[in-house]
């Protein structure tokens, strides 16, 4: 348990530096039973809590405003691995990449791969319904979770889902995944493992205009070939990466590069690679480089996965944004983002899951300069508004947390927000687990008021 100010400082932020909240106290249970005891003791006294994994979140979701912070990263046992059926049961604090390493010798891995996978936990992934570059082909967290043992804020332990057989009844696993810690704590998670592909081909295609790169994405998506990953990295990001220790050999004079990965059985893979090459060239790719070996492949990926870190060179602070648009809208939304950046005098670095239409327009800035902060804020609002207007949404994988609560009313009606409050109340009627996140507080208050009164 941590209660000293100096030590609590480490838990006032997640990976998004623009929000800071001070927990009342932080506790780190060492076992499942200790976790249950902590939550039951808190329930008895009516004290709210915030579950936290590795603190790599990007929406302020694991910040605690006076509530007790429960760190689950000591619950890191892999409870069982069934290679025959391709499933594993893990505690919430197991690190994403650790699980993949543990099953690699059986030719398996855990498919969702957020960029923070070397640090982030499965429990946090479940809370956020985490994605990652390879989710284009393999699906996000919710497509890989079969069952969850859940500790409710009341202290009750319930099991959701069915790992050995089909689901019956309501899809409560589906409801829990992505609930951002508001429905309780996952004590263990049963996940589906995926077979390692027989072969992988990683391509780097570079373009002299962002528009051409965006059109290459659209044509690959439309071709029916589903790449394992299809990532776009724009010039600002490429330059930041290439100037950093993560330099990946990306061409710094290109307007944008695409990192394209195809995987699967050996037979047929080269056929798809050649189609993708042709599609890229037909919209104006300048050069296409195919990684010759695992080392080169790892280097190409390092630039992508460490891009956020590399942006740290550009300014003291960084907004990591997350939004989604329909994939045919990529060329127009990227043009709009450029316009908005220009208009507000901010620098936008785009590095994102283009194949899903999942944008990450990131803005390096100096948080100590109020003028910059105000301009960044206005630019971000304008970008989000443009994505919503294009038929998109406000988060593809980072979650709503604290950061995006204000945007929820731009995409959901009051009635829909009330339905979300109703679902939350099923799991956590007193709103003690991660209070005041995801759904605007006033929506839940109104809903609670309406629910108490019989409808006329």
């Amino acid at each position: 348990m941590i209660a000293r100010d100096s030590e609590l400082l480490a838990y006032t932020s997640d990976a998004l530096p623009s929000h800071a909240r001070r927990p009342r106290v932080a506790v780190f249970p060492g076992s499942r039973d200790e976790t249950i005891n902590v939550v039951r003791a808190l329930a008895e006294d009516g004290v709210p809590f915030v579950p936290r994994g590795a603190g790599t979140g990007l929406s302020g979701g694991a910040l605690s405003d006076g509530a007790v912070l429960i760190g689950l990263n000591r619950l890191r046992r892999i409870l069982s691995i069934d290679t025959d059926n391709g499933i594993a049961v893990v505690e919430p604090g197991v690190v994403n990449a650790t699980l993949s390493r543990a099953v690699a010798s059986a030719g398996l891995y855990y498919a969702p791969d957020p960029s923070s996978q070397s640090a982030c936990t499965i429990g946090g992934n479940v809370a956020e319904n985490a994605g990652g570059p390879h989710c284009l082909k393999y699906g996000v967290t919710t497509n890989h979770v079969l069952a969850i043992t859940c500790l409710l804020a009341s202290g009750a332990v319930v099991s959701l889902g069915n790992a050995s057989g089909e689901r019956t009844g309501y899809d409560l696993v589906g409801a829990f995944v992505g609930s951002e810690g508001c429905f309780g704590i996952a004590l263990d998670v049963t996940v589906r493992l995926t077979r390692l592909p027989q072969a992988v081909r990683t391509l780097l295609a570079d373009f002299l205009t962002v528009d051409a790169a965006a059109r290459a994405v659209s044509s690959i998506v439309a071709s029916g070939i589903v790449p394992a990953a299809l990532e776009m990295i724009d010039q600002a990001t490429v330059r930041a990466v290439e100037a950093s220790v993560y330099a990946a050999g990306y061409p710094t004079d290109a307007a944008a590069v695409l990192l394209i990965e195809l995987d699967g059985p050996v037979a047929g893979l080269e056929h798809d690679v050649s189609i993708v090459e042709t599609l890229c060239r037909s919209v104006g790719a300048r050069t296409i480089r195919i990684a010759r070996d695992e080392t080169e492949r790892a280097r190409l990926w390092q630039g992508r996965k460490k891009a956020f870190g590399a942006m740290g060179r550009l300014a003291p602070h960084l907004v990591v944004q997350d939004a989604v648009v329909p994939r045919t809208r990529l060329p127009s939304i990227l043009a709009a983002i450029e316009r908005i950046a220009h208009e507000h005098g901010v620098m936008v670095c785009n590095v994102f899951h283009a194949g899903d239409g999942n944008l990450h327009p990131n803005v390096p800035y100096d948080g100590n300069d109020p003028d910059q902060v105000a301009r960044v804020d206005r630019a971000m609002r304008a970008i989000m508004a443009a994505c919503v207007a294009a038929g998109g949404t406000i988060s593809g994988e980072h979650g709503v947390g604290l950061d995006k609560v204000g945007y929820m009313t731009s995409i959901f009606s009051e009635d829909t927000l009330h339905a979300m409050c109703a679902l939350r109340s099923v799991f956590d009627p007193d709103q003690h687990s991660n209070p005041a996140k995801v759904v605007p507080v006033h929506s839940c208050r109104e809903w609670a008021g309406a629910a108490r009164q019989p409808r006329s």
Binding site: S218, V221, M420
Partner: protein, 387 residues
């Protein structure tokens, strides 16, 4: 692309639910009506039809998503998407006249679930009228979305007990460049099915679908009268050639008309009962043994194993309707000792309360129902009786 009319009719539907809630009435949600007998007899005062809510709201082929109103049939969606070289990868059993809304509400899935999952993996957004009479729009029209709590998955498979689905946005796939279906003869024995499953698992690719059929079902489809594995392959010519060779190495294999999948989906007519037994895929041999026992007790039972999913589906054909005691006979055929999850797609009405699902008091399920449909207006009892 046809543009659907504005949703004044969804408002009207919501008003109908509110009126029912005030009057203490209950409503039976109906799409095309093809699955009316599937689940528990609902003690509802009135039907509530979404059949007239049809049509494409938005279809941008380049996005590989389509938004349709809930009463749109599977057949229509299939036709519209195939014109663009795409398909909706849901192939539930039953009539193609079945609706999208019902497919999602019942979480119905067919052989393609092996590679593409069930409705929860395909549905991106939903509009629904909840039991409170309010209209919700959850999810969205994009393929990746974590904004807000996941009401979409909650509604998938909720059998219309939480809300009436009025519109859905679905993820589409491009049609495979080439397709081929293979039939591989198998010995009708648990050990043979078990071994076939292990061999398929070790291949370096996932087929689009792979179902092992028992003799009765194979005969119905004109594939002889022994057990047979039907494998659906897709991909580019190189991939397909390698996949074909790999399957051929597993046993006596012939190429069959891919139309067989459509016949498999629609072969059953109006059976007396349909049950699915499921467990870990490694237990498929035990499930196969259980299905043989059901077939021994109920002559003509047609069985198929989705081997990669560990699901065994048994269809008990209807007997002479004049004969009494059908329910008892079905019950005794299904009372077999096997460790498995049982999901009933269809049962004689009187059997539901005896062997159908139950909602435990104080369970999360029951709390969900009460939160979304406090007046118990929508399809009361269909997800199981309380107790």
């Amino acid at each position: 692309m046809t543009l659907a009319p504005p949703s004044s009719d969804v408002e009207a539907l919501a008003e109908r639910v509110r009126v029912a809630a005030r009057a203490g009435e209950s409503l039976r949600v109906v799409g095309a009506g093809t699955w009316l007998d599937a689940a528990a007899p609902v003690a509802a005062s009135e039907p509530l039809s979404v059949r007239d809510l049809t049509g494409v709201v938005e279809y941008v082929p380049g996005d590989l998503t389509i938004t349709v109103r809930a009463g749109t049939t599977l057949e229509d969606v299939d036709r519209i998407t195939r014109e663009q070289g795409q398909w909706l990868t849901l192939d539930p059993y039953g009539s193609r006249a079945g609706t999208i809304g019902a497919t999602i509400a019942t979480a119905s899935a067919g052989p393609l679930a092996t590679s593409f999952g069930t409705p929860r993996d395909v549905v991106l957004g939903l509009e629904a009228v909840l039991g409170t009479g309010t209209i919700m729009r959850a999810g969205g029209r994009v393929v990746k979305n974590v904004a807000g709590f996941d009401l979409v998955r909650l509604l998938c498979g909720s059998w219309g007990t939480l809300g009436v689905i009025t519109e859905a946005t679905l993820r589409l796939r491009a049609l495979p460049e080439r397709e081929e279906t293979l039939a591989t003869g198998l010995e009708d024995a648990p050990s043979a099915v078990q071994a076939f499953r292990a061999a398929m698992r070790d291949l370096p690719f996932n087929p689009l679908a792979c179902e092992v059929l028992n003799g009765a079902l194979a005969a119905e489809l004109g594939l002889g009268d022994g057990a047979v594995a039907l494998t659906r392959l897709g991909g580019n010519p190189d991939a397909l050639g390698a996949q074909r060779a790999a399957v051929q190495a597993l046993g006596e294999t012939s190429v069959v008309d891919p139309a067989i999948w459509e016949r498999l989906r629609t072969a059953e007519g109006e059976p007396a009962a349909v049950v699915r037994l499921s467990h870990l895929p490694s237990r498929v041999g035990e499930l196969w043994a259980a299905s043989r026992e059901i077939a021994r007790r109920w002559a003509g039972t047609r069985c198929q194993a989705s081997i990669a999913r560990g699901v065994l589906r048994c269809v008990l054909p209807r007997r002479d309707p004049g004969r009494g005691g059908a329910a008892n006979a079905v019950a005794s055929a299904l009372y077999i000792g096997v460790e498995a999850t049982r999901s009933f797609e269809r049962l004689p009405g009187e059997l539901w309360s005896a062997i159908g699902p139950r909602l435990a008091p104080e369970s999360i399920e029951l709390r969900v129902k009460r939160a979304f449909d406090p007046g118990n207006v929508l399809n009361p009892g269909i997800m199981g009786v309380v107790g």
